[in-house]
Amino acid sequence: MSDMTLEVRNLRTHFFTRAGVVRAVEDVSFSVQRGRVLGLVGESGSGKTVTGFSIIRLVDPPGRIAGGSILFHGRDLAKLSEREMRGLRGNRIAMIFQDPMMTLNPVLRIDTQMIETVRAHAKVSHAEARARSRDALGMVGIPSPDERLESYPHQFSGGMRQRVAIAIALLHRPDLIIADEPTTALDVTIQAQILAEVQKLAANVGTALIWITHDLSVVAGLADEIAVMYAGRIVEAGDVATVLDRPSHPYTHGLIGSVPSRNKRGTRLRQIPGMTPSLLDLPEGCAFRARCAYADAACEKDPPTTEPARGHALRCFHPLLEPVA
């Protein structure tokens, strides 16, 4: 396992708001290897984005990394100075955001936004930086990149903007890309284009990828491993086949069950009752227990992380054993 790009151990990120402490990320551990794709799935507010921001240390007050370590090639990012961190961001670690309409600065030209990224980390001439930018645009399949460099973001469609964002992420051939729901806002055919692009790049460059999404179907085809988050914790993690085909956690199970295609056409869908709990001052114990059919008194304590099989992590007192229908 010398290929380990990122190893997150017991990460906690909390928001100290006036209303109380929001434990957005609580005791999260996972790792990604070179050239592999980790799918981080979970419902809205489960802490996926905050996890991503914690890794590149862009959690703003009142949020703070409250504990744990983020080992990037063995170096603990949580301990780096802001200056050292800045050297890594956009360079060794890149991030792509959800909404392509919002991530590019609307009033700056594409070339400005790309060149500044190149020159932030490499001492190269303007022309050289521009050439690199153009190549990166070409790499993500933007036609006539030379002209497109002169454009403003609003002149691009959503899919093209997302490709520009990806191109920016790729400028320094980073070791790790954190992609925070980068295709959620896009149409199906465009999403497929982006996924195709990303797959190709991961394979060619050997970048490790954390793909954050709430859509199980997307990661099913893309990821090597999956981590399912619920209320700030990873409740189940493992390789795609294990987690999707033989989910052990009742939540994962319910989630997969409620996908329409897993149900017979026209019948009632299987549904998880209730709603996601608020992370504000979450009481101790399994956060899912209020919605869980199997919950009992034992669940009022925090379930520990167990490893029922090699490479399969689970946080549940009552794991399901039978595979999903």
Partner: protein, 299 residues
């Protein structure tokens, strides 16, 4: 299903608003000061030792007395007197009343007229919108001072007329803001829903659209009150304000202004302080309102 409660406490938007407003101590202090000032202004006739607008109660022989002087009839002028022998304290209390009436009155009337026009423009669109907005442009490109002069010349001086002049000067800003807000809100789905439910147009306009356009209007409302008060003061300085026998704060300052160099500071200074405190307090409230009512800054 719904047995899982979403939020525990029953909370009206008003409660929440009060709550968020109270987060800034400074704004609360501002609000308290505004309330005190409003109280003083409303009950000026009870509190003030003298009715400064009643010529029979003034005596120029008491003119320009320094603070703390005592008149022939045994009245103490805590803040001194002006050139007409007007007790400054009483003058300030009554002046507050005029200033607030003029400021708040014009802001409210202009607000009502301007927002109604702005909303209509946004909601109805077409020729009516173009017409209203051109009128707004015309109004905004006309210097306020000239408008005020013409109106005051036409109607004569008077608190009501100054208010009217300020309304004519101010309404356009509201119309612009209301239209801007309404153009955004109009595209919201709840307006479509109301239309889909075949609700009458006026109902959609005033019950659905208007309340949701209120935040920016309230914000510019507070600012406009402050603006109106200062504008009235400026008009007074230029000799176009309220009648001299019923001075507002601005007129008191303008009157005392000429005594600044001769050391009779109190004639201008105390009304100045009163004006300053009033406007600062209103603006503190306005600032916090802006933050609280701004959906983009909402936490």
């Amino acid at each position: 299903m719904s047995d899982v409660a979403a939020v525990v406490r029953e909370e009206t938007p008003f409660h929440r608003f009060v709550h968020e407003f109270a987060e800034s101590k400074l704004a609360v202090a501002g609000f308290v000061v505004v309330a005190i000032i409003a109280f003083l202004a409303v009950f000026a006739s009870v509190i003030a030792p003298q009715n400064p607008y009643d010529l029979a109660q003034l005596d120029i022989m008491d003119g320009r007395l320094p603070p703390g002087s005592v008149s022939a009839d045994g009245l103490t002028f805590w803040l001194g007197t002006d050139d007409q022998g007007r007790d400054m304290l009483s003058g300030i209390l009554y002046g507050l009343r005029i200033s607030l009436t003029v400021g708040a009155g014009s802001a409210i009337i202009a607000g009502i007229i301007g927002s109604a026009l702005g909303l209509t423009a946004a909601y109805v669109g077409g020729k009516i919108e173009t017409g209203i907005m051109r009128l707004v442009d015309l109004q905004l490109s006309f210097p306020a001072i000239l408008v005020a002069l013409m109106i005051l010349a036409f109607l004569g001086k008077g608190v009501l007329n100054v208010t009217l002049a300020l309304v004519i000067v101010e309404w356009a800003r509201y119309a612009r803001t209301a239209r801007g807000a309404a153009l955004v809100e109009r595209r919201r789905e709840y307006i479509e829903a109301a239309e889909c439910l075949a609700l009458p147009r006026w109902r959609v306009l005033f019950r659905h659209l208007l309340p949701n356009c209120m935040p920016p209007l309230i914000v510019i409302g507070t600012i406009q009150i402050a603006r109106a008060i200062t504008l009235e003061a400026t008009l007074s300085f230029l000799g176009l304000g309220v009648p001299i026998t019923e001075p507002s704060l601005g007129l008191l300052i303008a009157n005392g202004y000429q005594y600044m160099l001769s050391g009779k500071y109190w004639i201008s200074f105390y009304p100045g302080i009163a004006l300053l405190v009033t406007i600062v307090a209103i603006n503190l409230v306005g600032d916090q309102l802006r933050d609280v009512l701004n959906p983009r800054l909402r936490r």
